[in-house]
């Protein structure tokens, strides 16, 4: 970690922080506006109390990331709105529960006296119950604040910018600086917001209006900080920026960054939404929430088109392109020139020792060898197809973390691994990829997909054109290695690819 790496991360901080602030404060406001009245209602209508608290309690047990992901298909959109709704729901329980506790905690003789001297229901609520319950209610808001600041970092995979962009991106690209900047900023934000809400709590307990006004002012200031940049941006250019999506692994981060750079050179404003879930991203492209991203033909074939029989590479590409256009309105601009598929990899010594060049060469020796793969491979259709087609199996099967399997094979802990063909560590450990001579693995050609609206944007299409057939397997491996093995930033890997593109 050095200063320039830190500076590179910090210059994104205003964007991420303001988006995070906006998300947090609006979600908190929704929680307050919904739950305080609801809390009072269920203290009045006792029959509602148990069901309401139960439902809210159950919602709370849904893991944050699942609740966020669930909002995308439910609402049919990505970004701020689904993230906001999920986070608001997350704030419900503490606010609602404390409101109910606070109201029920008001001394019965005080409520009776209030009625007895002739207060209306409204006066009882606003003059007695609300002020007396306020400290307990605000304590609930405080709990919700800390929860929301933390959970908002999980909004990245549904396409909402937040401090989570640092964390998700950093973890995938092994950039510790980014992860730390994300975690520390989120923690600081949680502490600051918590202290401001604590001010409200103290003000409510001591009935100090000046302190309450100060705290409110601070909250409004933060809200302005949150809304400021996006508002300024909207005022600055009326044209919507082109949104570039990316899934959650290094290669995708690099490609999104590369596309943004390419468009930038042509004067087209673009921003990347990296770290999105695979299916969320595809749906977002179909609905126009994302304008452009790189997917893989085999993935679209199996996941989106739900097809099982794998035809030849060209047929698959052609059918996929038609299906995307006709069914989803998505335009395939073409293959990038590399593929990221499952590939059997061995060390150079193993390859020499047994004379291995293709998978078929393994058939004689496989019964003495072990194979290592990620957690899901042995239960995937590719593995059944592999055994059925090549008609051999290995002596031992090892499930290991994808990040560790490359070192495992190079250190002899296993003989063969199912590598991802563009992984940079293949170069680093000098591994040999065996040819899939009987074509068991479906082709996973990287393809450049754009949304229906983006397909009408001529300058955008021509800017993207240079990518088609522009990146080789080897170039992509090097770019991935720059990040995963050499520890440089995604930005530098994208710059490398850009030079390669323009050098041609």
């Amino acid at each position: 970690m050095n200063d320039s790496m830190l500076m590179e991360q910090l210059h994104r901080l205003p964007d991420y922080l303001s988006a995070h602030l906006l998300l947090t404060i609006v979600a908190l406001a929704v929680g307050v506006v919904v739950c305080i009245p609801l809390g009072f209602l269920v203290t009045r209508v006792k029959a509602l109390q148990w069901p309401t608290l139960s439902v809210v309690g159950v919602l709370q047990t849904i893991p944050g990331i699942a609740l966020l992901a669930l909002m995308v298909p439910l609402l049919g959109m990505i970004g701020f709105v689904p993230a906001l709704i999920a986070l608001s729901i997350y704030s419900f329980l503490p606010i609602l529960r404390n409101t109910v506790t606070g109201v029920l905690g008001v001394d019965g003789s005080i409520v009776e006296a209030a009625r007895g001297i002739g207060m209306t229901d409204r006066q009882l609520l606003f003059r007695v119950e609300l002020p007396l319950a306020l400290p307990v209610i605000v304590a609930g808001v405080r709990t919700a604040t800390v929860w929301i600041v933390g959970t908002a970092t999980l909004a990245t995979p549904v396409g909402a910018t937040s401090l989570g962009n640092y964390i998700f991106g950093g973890l995938q690209t092994q950039n510790i600086t980014a992860v730390l900047v994300g975690c520390i900023s989120a923690a600081l934000l949680a502490i600051i917001l918590d202290q401001i809400v604590r001010l409200v709590e103290v003000a409510a307990t001591r009935r100090n209006f000046r302190l309450g006004a100060l705290a409110t002012l601070l909250l409004l200031l933060l809200f302005a900080l949150g809304i400021g940049p996006s508002l300024a941006e909207r005022l600055a250019d009326n044209n919507r920026k082109v949104i570039i999506g990316a899934k959650t692994f290094t290669e995708q981060y690099i490609l999104a960054n590369l596309i943004t750079k390419l468009l930038d050179e042509e004067g087209i404003a673009a921003e990347s939404r990296a770290g999105m879930g695979s299916i969320i991203l595809f749906d977002a492209l179909a609905s126009g929430g994302v304008d452009c991203y790189v997917d893989y033909s085999g993935t679209v074939w199996a996941n989106a088109m739900k097809r099982e029989v794998v035809p030849s590479r060209d047929t698959l590409l052609a059918e996929m392109t038609d299906w995307l256009r006709d069914v989803k309105g998505i335009r395939n601009l073409g293959a990038l020139g590399f593929e990221n598929t499952y590939a059997l990899a061995v060390t150079r010594e193993t390859a020499k020792k047994y004379g291995l060049r293709s998978i078929s060469d393994l058939s004689a020796v496989a019964p003495q060898l072990s194979i290592g793969s990620d957690y899901e491979f042995f239960s995937r259709p590719e593995w059944s197809a592999f055994k059925a087609t090549y008609r051999f199996d290995f002596n031992d099967h090892l499930s290991i973390d994808p990040a560790l399997m490359y070192s495992a094979v190079s250190e002899g802990e296993t003989d063969v691994i199912t590598a991802f063909s563009t992984d940079g560590r293949i170069i680093d450990y000098d591994l040999v990829l065996l040819t899939d001579d009987r074509q068991v693995f479906p082709p996973y050609d990287a393809v450049l997909l754009v949304s229906e609206t983006a397909a009408d944007n001529e300058p955008l299409l021509s800017a993207l054109q240079s990518l088609v057939n522009g990146i080789s397997d080897q170039q992509m491996q090097v770019a991935n290695k720059i990040v995963d093995v050499d520890g440089f930033s995604v930005d530098s890997a994208a710059t490398y690819l850009l030079h390669q593109l323009e050098g041609d």
Binding site: S109, V111, A113, G116, I117, G118, R127, V128, L132
Partner: protein, 269 residues
């Protein structure tokens, strides 16, 4: 039931009033008829659960009777807006129920505030009431209620109940939580005040001594029914019912013991 009442016209009349809570088989109040004259101090006396508090709360409609009729100044209270009804009836409870988030002055002025009086008028009324209750306005008006002693709090409670110039005061064991010295003093002062302002008071208590000392008439209740109504002296001398006799025997014996002790010149009890 009106025999032995004061000569004044009836201010509060309960006619065959019953109250049942939910599906309970026994009514909490059972066909109770009673009238309270204007300016009269009536004590509802009985053991816990006899229905005396329920009866009191029906008078300002904190509870609604299941059957029967309640009239104030001749008008059926069920025809009246309960909020407006309560604002012209003072209400003091044992828990006092001062609002802890309001100052002494704001507590006393709450009813005039709810009635929309203008600030100056409220302020004058608050000063006047604090003065009346023996609390120097300058010293007490901005204090937190939590800083006051029990006796001072109940004085504020009474001042609050008087703020809207009610003719009727309903009191539920108002002095029950006070230490004996404070209680005696406040009882005495309140009796004076009641006479001075000609208040019609209905007070609930289980304290026989308090009933005997304060009441113009005592209404004895048991199991939701009215057992007997009469002036304290008459009831002490010759109760019609054995239950009344048993209930009032305690203060009688205490008084006799006390007088023996004093004449014997014994302890300083």
């Amino acid at each position: 039931m009106n025999e032995g009442a004061t000569n004044n016209p009836a201010e509060i009349e309960l006619v065959e009033v019953s109250k049942r809570f939910g599906a309970a088989s026994e009514p909490a109040v059972d066909r109770l008829s009673l009238s309270v004259g204007a300016g009269e101090f009536l004590v509802l006396l009985g053991e816990s659960g006899c229905g005396k508090t329920t009866t009191l709360k029906m008078i300002n409609r904190l509870l609604e009777p299941s059957s029967g009729e309640i009239r104030i100044s001749g008008a059926d209270i069920l025809q009246e807006d309960p909020v407006l009804l309560r604002r012209r009836i003072g209400y003091v409870v044992q828990g006092i129920g001062l609002f802890p988030h309001l100052t002494v002055g704001e507590n006393v002025g709450i009813v005039p505030t709810l009635m929309g009086w203008e600030q100056n008028k409220i302020r004058r009324r608050v000063d006047e009431l604090l003065e009346l209750m023996g609390l120097t306005p300058a010293e007490f008006i901005d204090r937190d209620t939590a800083e006051l002693s029990g006796g001072q709090q109940q004085r504020v409670g009474v001042a609050r109940a008087l703020a809207g110039r009610p003719r009727i005061m309903l009191m539920d064991e108002p002095f029950g939580a006070l230490d004996p010295l404070t209680r005696d003093k406040l009882q005495f002062e309140f009796k004076q005040l009641q006479r001075q302002l000609k208040l019609t008071v209905v007070m609930v208590t289980h304290d026989m001594m308090e009933a005997v000392l304060l009441a113009d008439r005592i209404a004895v209740m048991r199991d939701g029914r009215l057992v007997e109504v009469g002036e304290p002296a008459a009831l002490m001398r010759a109760a019609q019912e054995d239950y009344t006799d048993a209930l009032l025997s305690a203060p009688k014996e205490q008084a006799e013991q006390l007088s023996r002790l004093m004449h014997g010149g014994g302890s300083d009890e």
